[in-house]
Symmetry: C5
Subunit: 353 residues, 5 copies
């Protein structure tokens, strides 16, 4: 049912009520923990949520990754342990929310969208990722298990890795960066699809192109809905100093910010290109109408006068001298050929032939 995924499902419930708004994807919530410092790294998949809570107070950096959002109880118990605000948990579960950052007393909350291309339908599919940065820990919530953090994980496992020497804020940055990097793939894919479409519309504008333009426009709108609020959110992170993020990390966040601006500009550009293609399409259609009209006019211009002449000599008057001339018939043919020639010359001069 369409409407079951909409925000209105929640309307009327008390604020702070945990309701998962979104698709139910994973069968079971999976909570895994990576705990590391420069020297050591341990990876655990928690069986009970209580297991996770041992890591909160350690000096090491703890990364708690939660795959799946449909089990309110688990989410709530994590929330309780880390003293997360009820509204924050609500927003983690409401996957239709727009990206935003919010600062709380002891932690920082950021939600953003993971984007990918469904190659079959050329559609942008989006999932929500929520990140909470505390002192020495980061929690990431995903709608289901995905590969987006795999590269990061591999780098983390290397003992010489630069990441291991840095704090939770640097991990927080890397998580954002991993998600944003995927946006480049998405915009590039759409950009290629649009280029192909432009080529096609330029040569054979048909009704299907129009539907494709509409479809791509919707994909771009979805893209923009994910990227524009994120830009504001990361700008806020950059601008408002918080003790949770060290100054050295701020420069890296600014780099992410530049990437998002770059993507945003690409999206604007693609919108402009789509508008140009729409212009091309419309002007292509009116060119085609023009062509059709020309053919009709040429045919009519040539045959109407000649048919008229033939009509004249098909009349049955008793006294029509031309009918009895010896070369009358051939003369008429001559007149017709001359009329034809005049019409052709006229049309040539109008550049219609």
């Amino acid at each position: 049912m369409k409407s079951s995924n909409t925000i209105s499902k929640k309307a009327g419930l008390p604020p702070g009520t945990l309701v998962h708004i979104g698709r139910h994807i994973t069968d079971k919530i999976k909570v895994s923990i990576i705990d590391y410092d420069a020297a050591n790294l341990s990876e655990t998949v928690c069986k009970s949520t209580e297991e996770c809570f041992l890591f909160k107070e350690t000096d090491t950096v703890s990364w708690i990754n939660v795959d799946g959002l449909h089990d309110n109880e688990t989410i709530a118990s994590i929330g309780n342990h880390f003293e997360l605000h009820p509204l924050l948990l609500e927003e983690v579960l409401n996957t239709l929310h727009r990206p935003k950052v919010e600062e709380f007393d002891n932690y920082l909350f950021l939600t953003l969208k993971l984007l990918a291309i469904n190659k079959d339908s050329n559609s942008v599919v989006s999932e929500q990722i929520s990140l909470v940065l505390g002192r020495g820990w980061v929690i990431s919530f995903q709608e289901h298990e995905s590969a987006v953090f795999n590269t990061l994980l591999q780098r983390l496992r290397e003992i010489k890795s630069n990441i291991r020497k840095k704090g939770a804020d640097y991990l927080f940055y890397l998580l954002i960066d991993s998600v944003v990097d995927d946006y480049f793939f998405v915009t590039e894919h759409i950009s290629e699809v649009i280029e192909d479409l432009e080529e096609k519309v330029l040569h054979t504008p048909d009704n299907k192109s129009l539907q494709e333009i509409q479809h791509l426009k919707k994909q771009l709108i979805n893209l923009r809905k994910a990227v524009t609020p994120l830009r504001e959110a990361v700008a806020t992170l950059d601008r408002d100093a918080t003790i949770l993020i060290e100054e050295g990390t701020t420069r890296y966040l600014r780099d992410v910010y530049e990437h998002i601006i770059h993507i945003n500009e690409s999206i604007d550009l693609l919108f402009d290109t789509l508008a140009s293609i729409m212009d091309l399409y419309l002007s292509g259609v009116s060119n085609k109408t023009n062509q059709v009209m020309k053919v009709l006019t040429i045919i009519a211009t040539i045959f109407m006068p000649m048919t008229f002449i033939a009509g004249i000599y098909g009349m049955n008057f008793d006294y029509m001298p031309e009918l009895h001339w010896k070369y009358g018939y051939f003369g008429v043919w001559g007149i017709m050929i001359i009329a034809f020639a005049i019409m052709v010359i006229y049309l040539k001069r109008k550049r219609w032939l």
Copy 2:
């Protein structure tokens, strides 16, 4: 009479004159009071307005709800008792006002619109709700009795309810939230209507679609007129600290603010979609003209040359050798068939057939 509901009815009267501008809906003003603290809750429907005034000075939270705005005297006596500014009362009664917030010395005034969909006409209908927050009391004015606060009332009646532990500012927030939650239903309904329309226009663009586009545009404009000023108003509430609203409640107001932004973005999106549908419609019409022209041209291209040939041999010249050939008639048929074939091949190559 149309103009009797317009603001100009008031033009020229002294400022502070109480004139009810809007539809007269309820027969009798109904004033009801909910007075509660964590332990107790009392509900009263006042017979005389004086009854209500007992609750103002208590330590408990008092919620005075007024249904109906057509009885100026009652409104004025409430206004006097709570020392409300004459301009405030004027705005409560003028239901054509745009949403806004205004801070007075001892209370906070907010007016906003309750929106609903009239399913018969697919129209957005709006009513004005005005809220006044004082120390320990909230007054809500509605144009007529509605179900919008029912869920809230039920939660309030539960003794364990979280709301009972909090102050009048939290009640104030909940009232706003109840109204804003309904906006999601409205935008979603319109969104579904627009999706259906898009599907229809893509396949059979007709004049009725155009009227429907215009109608939906007007609904969106009405929606925006209710939502955009409210966004500013709630942003003001959030930004300008006031002693009437505790810091903890501010975060909840920000949540309402995010909801309004979300709705606002949906409305912008729906406007864009309507513009796209208009494009689809126009391009559909010009495609249809193109189709019609093609049929005409095909018919003319095929029959004009053949009719000409027939015309030739309908001439009555004495000396027309072909007429006397034995197979002249069949030869002419042959020529016509060849002409027909050439035309068909030509049209096929133009991809018109």
Copy 3:
């Protein structure tokens, strides 16, 4: 002469030169004075300007109303007496100026437009009203005598009137409010005209509608030219505290400000509606072209093939067996009827019939 009313008439003259730019409407300047406090009120029509000057230093509130701007000498002598800046007087006389507020050392200057509808031409006509607020006095300059302040005057004459207890700043507010109230009538009138036009364009788009759209657009532009700068001006009044306006009056000015914003939004809405009507019109025209084309195509599709068949049997070949068949003629009719039927079915399936 058209250009005699334009600003360029003044170009090149020294700044501060008093030149009346605008229509000459009244025969004689009329200067009248209302002087009042809570207890007394006196009304005088001055014969000489010197008479007026007695009222400046009194403790009562003096309202000097000047009807007519064509007598530079009178204006100049008032200016001298009240020590008005030469540039201010220049702006009072230049009725093509845009609304604005300017604060001087001892007084406040505001010019705004009085708008009305000329019902014959459905045009917005505007006149300039300039207000100067000093300590205990207000001067109002009008292009000619009008009824705009009559209601205010009547209220002022009542001894119990609330106005009489307040200062010159409240009178200043009431004068602005009287003018702004008229804007509602103007926008509502235009709004009704536009609604009628929309209805008309939807059913019978013709060339006259286009001219009406253009005309209404110009009226809206004129309206906006009066309202938008006034919004800024009143916002300035509200924002920049001045000792001439008491704090209590500021709230009333904010109310006027809200009215102006309301009007401004209505104007924006009407612009949007006009744009929609233009779309309706254009799409109506292309629908009509489409209709015309369809009729042409139907006629041609039906008659061209049949005319061709008739042409065939009008040929004069010696040997045409069908001509001699007994039922040849009726057979041809049969073929024609079949051709006709096929065409009708084809057109029905295309939904053109």
Copy 4:
């Protein structure tokens, strides 16, 4: 040669190199000086630039006016004497620069455009005027001698003139005001041309109108290029207090600022009007196509059926009973007249006749 006047001519040269970019208009640079105070005024046309330099240190106000910019040496020697920054001189000579104001340590620099209408081509022609305001002196640079400051000069020569009592900053204001006053003439002229065009397009839209729209659009763009940056520049003068401009003069500058805003709004309005005319033109063209189509359809609708009937009875079948009826011929005429009548009624009901 077109490109010789373009900025790229300077590209690559060291900054501060004096190159005159613009048309070479005057044969000889003319430097004239007006030196005045309340009592005395002397006018000198300098033969050598050294002559001018005597006036710099006097207590009187000195106005050095330079007509012609093609003699780099003279310009440079003036620059040296008044200690003008090399970049300033560069901008004086580069007449393609946009208007701007720049404050230096001891003087203020403003460049703006003198606009006029070339009545033959209805084009806006612009020249650059640069003004430097120092303590007690003003330098004005013009591309060639013009009449723009003549009125000002005449007023200056009168001994009772108000100007003579004021300082160099007031002269500076008057110079700006003289230039800006001319803008009113230009916008009014274009406004009249546009009104005429609108009238014309409404009645006979032809291809030439389109070219005129394009031409006027370019003129407006040129106008805006001169006015918009000037608005910013004068706003800067008004906002940023500088010791070179006395407080009394600031109010006059604000007046100029209001004029520029007024002109700017007129330009925006003219752009809107041009866009409306373009709409009128396009809709006029499609109306004309519609008209043409209607005529074609009417002709075809009337004559095709009748021609078909005539074709029927032109067939040569042996057995066609109608041919032998006595009133067959007249009967056919009757049928044709009935067909004609039906068609006319049909077309009337479609409102095409």
Copy 5:
């Protein structure tokens, strides 16, 4: 391969990884050093990067110019020596980055685009130039050897050169100025191409014009992508005081800023012009359709009635009195000529002939 040059190539790699994103142009990186003060100037082409590092600590100004970016090792060793931030080097190598300025503790980083016109394809080609300004040194990174700095070099080599007396910040300014100067050539070239196109579209709008409009639009978008962010960057340089740039140089930077604004305005103007040309094109196409329709209608209007008349007298009724009149045939001709004349007059009055 197209995608090998895209940013997504980098996605997923750790931040600070040096990957050259862009075309591989030069075979070998060339590092050259110009070291100068007022008295001396030495030019060196480094064989090993270590050679370069001698110049860092000297009192003279050192300009290290790096041509080619494909040798990560060289870049990295320069980066290490000058203690450049890893993110900075990353951005030097990523030639798809947008222009920006970034301030680090001891140096200032600016990247901008070198633009040129490929005359064959009328395309804008861009290369990235990165500049690092430290105390007494400037490093410039180019994608390959170019002539852009040659003029600057020549001026530098002159012993009397003004540049030699100034610091590294002035050199930094001159490098930016050299690059920006080239933008004028690019915009002027495109401007000329657009003017030619406008002329062409006005007279013979064809499908190729449409493609050219699209092509030019893309070039302008590319141009804007280079210029707009640079404007912000240089504005930042101007606004945020930094000890690396002396106050005297700031004025020169403001001059560059004005140039960039000028270019930006030209680009906006060219966009507007392209939009106008598109309008011209579309209206040209619909004018052409109109023309074609007119010809068709004229032909049909003239010949259909006359063919009908001929058809009448081609009927074979036994009793058709006109057929036997002596001058019947000539009478019919007369009627036809009259019909022809009426049609011609009708069309003349409609101004179609």
